[in-house]
């Protein structure tokens, strides 16, 4: 054992300092709470919340508990993040590829988009869409229908609702199709490795994913009908749409700005990734007789993805965290519902802020674990 004073002392002092700071904070918190007559505890979560939330995915009103309000906020946050991530990824990949286009105009157009949206604060963009752009939309009674069924008004976007019969069977058919595709892919890989034959996996997959759900309609008794929103007059000047699904303007402004903003960063990641694959790789692949599509699929993309995924994961995390800006335009996300309204009502600052932070930590860490797993899967397996 070679304990050296020089190794131990710095660590001890650091830990002591951290403990002292935390101890000081806890001590003060106790005294402050005693003085103000606040008691510490998470019991309030089961109490009746008695406030309403504008937009919620699960059934909720004032008679439900604070915990239910927390769930409402959490689900709304996840909803915005998921929609935002999907749109931002699609847009980002398109713009990133457009940045590498040999076409001068497309290239510059993509560069302009990236430089423009990246350099304006996200909060300002959210405010712009919500307070300036979406306020210029028509009132419900003046709105023109898009394709006859969509109504974009100042009160939000109204889309037809799906009404399913035997939805379970449809759902199972999709799952069955996915499982079948996985099995076929594995089989095709084996066949190719053993016999060198290629099975048109892509065409078969597309066929399966369409045919099985179609069969469920024809045989399984699945029925789908639409409920189109209809204009209804409440008073002489007040109109609303009834039926269908309404997406509030807050949600639209938030997803729009989040995805437009994050897409610029994803575009840069994609561009860097594709540029990071050496030119020689492409030429070597072409020289052994692969078609351009095969070059892209088998040589460029697998290598580019390795460079693209880690920074893109960071962008997904950023988008999830940035979705908390919803509080600024009163979209009922976790921060607004829980750290805003619920905190105002209960005054339990420490408990509520800590729960909120813990939730975001969990969300971030779970996304990063998921993406690390995927990253490890596609990373180079060195032997």
């Amino acid at each position: 054992m070679n304990f050296k004073l020089k190794d131990i002392v710095p660590q001890l002092i650091t830990v002591l300092a951290v403990v002292l700071v935390f101890g000081f904070f806890t001590y003060n918190a106790q005294i402050n709470m005693e003085n103000r007559g606040i008691d510490f505890g998470y019991g309030f979560l089961s109490q009746e919340s008695s406030f309403d939330v504008q937009f919620s995915l699960i059934e909720y009103d004032g008679s439900h508990s604070y915990f239910r309000a927390y769930l409402v906020g959490l689900l709304n946050t996840i909803l915005v993040s998921v929609i935002g991530i999907i749109i931002a990824t699609i847009l980002g990949v398109i713009v990133g590829i457009a940045r590498l286009s040999p076409n001068y105009l497309i290239n510059k157009f993509a560069a302009f988009y990236v430089e423009f949206f990246r350099n304006i604060p996200l909060l300002l963009q959210i405010f712009f869409w919500y307070f300036a752009a979406l306020r210029a939309l028509p009132l419900p009674q003046d709105a023109e229908a898009m394709f006859g069924v969509f109504f974009l008004t100042i009160k939000g976007l109204y889309v037809p609702a799906f009404i399913w019969q035997n939805f379970n069977i449809f759902f199972y058919s999709i799952i069955a199709a996915i499982i079948a595709i996985i099995v076929i892919r594995a089989h095709a890989k084996k066949v190719q490795e053993n016999q060198g034959k290629q099975i048109p996996v892509f065409l078969i997959s597309i066929g399966l994913i369409f045919i099985l759900p179609l069969l469920s309609f024809l045989i399984g008794g699945v029925r789908l009908s639409f409920e189109v929103p209809v204009l209804k007059q409440l008073a002489t000047t007040s109109f609303i749409y009834e039926g269908g699904v309404s997406l509030p303007p807050e949600l639209i402004a938030l997803t729009l700005s989040l995805s437009l903003y994050t897409a610029t960063f994803i575009a840069e990641c994609v561009r860097a990734g594709i540029q990071g694959v050496g030119k020689g790789q492409k030429e070597a692949a072409a020289s052994i007789g692969l078609t351009p599509n095969q070059v892209l699929k088998l040589v460029i993309m697998p290598q580019a993805l390795r460079i693209i995924i880690p920074p893109t994961t960071n962008q997904y995390l950023n988008l999830t965290k940035n979705s908390s800006l919803a509080a600024a335009i009163a979209y009922p996300d976790l921060v607004l519902v829980f750290a805003g309204t619920a905190l105002m009502q209960t005054g339990k600052a420490i408990e509520i802020v800590s729960i909120t932070m813990f939730t975001y930590l969990t969300l971030s860490i779970s996304i990063s674990i998921l993406m690390n797993w995927y990253n490890k899967k596609i990373a180079i397996q060195e032997k």
Binding site: A29, N103, I106, I120, F131, S324, L325, A327
Partner: protein
């Protein structure tokens, strides 16, 4: 001359294809141009749908005709290479050209032609364009917040002085070059701090805070002369001791009164705002988050497990939560953690919160640079007999920081773009002031102008910063 195969343009009939193709292309552009600038519809006699698509079809056919490889005409070859490589690209190019032509008139008319600039009431804004009068009337609020008009020269003077002092590096002669780092790391922040504290606030708002700053900076300066053997223990003890001495033994209450500077009115931080607050917060957080981040980056790579765990915990915690919850914490939770009579100004709380938050990001960026250095650098430094601090200050950090200039610049950009979030603690910088002005009953309905104005300002700041960081990156690039 044999018959021409119109499906396959080639060099033999170059002129025919060239004239025909460029004519069609020209017609299609002209049609869109006249339509958007003069509202003339040349193809109005056609059915609606066809009239809409006609320019695209004409342009497409035109571009198809002039797509002749190796035509021998330089400009044509350039055109083909850049915007007309195949059918798909031709359609995209046409669409982009049309979009640009179509969008110029409305943008121009909104910004300039139909916009109103004169006057100072809402009544002049009757046109369909932007109302820049609104910006003109509110410009002082957008720039200085609620800071009294008569005192605004103090902010201007401070910023001018800081910019001048900051540009000293450009004029330094070779003799003074070696002191520049010391100047920028220690002296300049101190001067900047004193300027903002004495001049802009004109009062003892930051006084308690300033003891800490003065203690830290004094101890760093003295620290240069302490033998490296005792440096660690010196930095553990002296700053705290200095702080206590300054606070409880040297500066008594009457000195605080002296600190107020005669003739300057005290302006509380709640009145600060607008763009100047954006600058103040960015500046302070930039100064503070860099050393904190560097410390945690080194801590994360330390040999001592306990220090490493604490650093990892710190970094991952701040990186995992959104800034808005951090500011919430600083606003509602942090006061609970302090003694009851101990009051910290909300601007200071916001600055501390943002600095800690950004420090975690800076730490990760610097760690990337530290990891990218080859191990030989560490081993070489150690073999020369350098200790931990000497090795890092003279060998490792200069190289590592050079590597991470783009990453740090991105973090600072993010910091500037995050400043609007301070609305959470009730401070109103430029975006917050816009939202306030928007609700003023005399000036309802000009949200668009305000946001466009702020967006232009932020865009210029951020774009300039990113270009500057690119220049720095090129300047310090060393081939390795």
């Amino acid at each position: 001359m044999s018959s021409i195969n119109f499906l396959k343009p080639d060099r033999t009939n170059l002129n025919t294809f060239l004239y025909l193709g460029s004519f069609l292309f020209f017609i299609s552009i002209l049609d869109v141009f006249l339509n958007s600038f003069f509202r003339l519809n040349l193809t109005g006699f056609l059915p609606n749908f066809l009239s809409f698509l006609l320019p695209l079809i004409l342009g497409f056919v035109g571009l198809y005709f002039i797509r002749i490889e190796y035509s021998g005409i330089k400009n044509l070859d350039l055109l083909n290479k850049h915007i007309n490589t195949n059918n798909f690209n031709a359609v995209l190019s046409l669409l982009i050209i049309f979009i640009i032509i179509k969008s110029i008139p409305p943008i121009l008319s909104w910004f300039v032609i139909d916009a109103s600039f004169a006057g100072d009431t809402k009544d002049v804004c009757t046109g369909s364009g932007a109302c820049w009068t609104y910006i003109k009337v509110w410009i002082r609020r957008f720039m200085y917040g609620m800071y009294p008009n008569a005192e605004q020269w103090r902010i201007n003077l401070s910023f001018v002085a800081l910019v001048l002092l900051g540009s000293v590096g450009y004029f330094a002669t070779d003799k003074f070059k070696k002191y520049l780092t010391l100047y920028y790391v220690v002296i300049y922040p101190l001067i900047a701090f004193l300027f903002i504290f004495f001049f802009i606030s004109g009062g003892p708002v930051f006084f308690d805070f300033s003891y800490g700053i003065i203690a830290a900076i004094l101890s760093i300066i003295i620290g240069f002369f302490i033998p490296s053997k005792f440096k660690f223990y010196y930095f553990l003890i002296v700053p705290l001791a200095l702080y206590i001495i300054l606070k409880y033994f040297l500066f008594f209450e009457e000195y605080i009164e002296l600190g107020k500077l005669d003739g300057l009115n005290w302006v509380e931080t709640g009145a600060w705002g607008g763009l100047s607050l954006t600058f103040i917060i960015s500046f302070f957080c930039l100064i503070f988050c860099f050393p904190i981040g560097m410390a945690f980056a080194l801590g994360r790579r330390s040999e001592f497990p306990l220090i490493r765990y604490i650093s990892v915990g710190f970094i991952e915690f701040w990186r995992g939560v959104p800034l808005i919850t951090v500011l919430f914490m600083s606003a509602v939770m942090f006061p609970m953690f302090l003694p009851e009579d101990f009051f910290i100004d909300k601007l200071v709380r916001a600055i501390i919160a943002i600095s800690l938050f950004e420090a975690a990001y800076v730490a990760e960026v610097i760690r990337g640079g530290l990891q990218a250095l080859p191990r030989g650098q560490y081993e070489a430094a150690k073999s020369l007999g350098m200790g931990y601090w000497k090795m890092h200050i003279f060998v490792i950090l200069p190289q590592a920081l050079k590597l991470v200039i783009p990453g740090i610049a991105n973090t600072f950009l993010a910091l500037v773009k995050d400043t609007p979030l301070i609305f959470v603690v009730g401070l109103l910088e430029i975006v917050g002031m816009l939202n306030l002005a928007k609700t003023n009953p005399k000036w309802l309905g000009f949200a668009m102008e305000g946001y466009v104005f702020a967006a232009i300002i932020f865009w210029i700041i951020c774009y300039a910063m990113s270009k500057y960081s690119y220049n720095l990156e090129q300047k310090y690039k060393t081939d390795r």
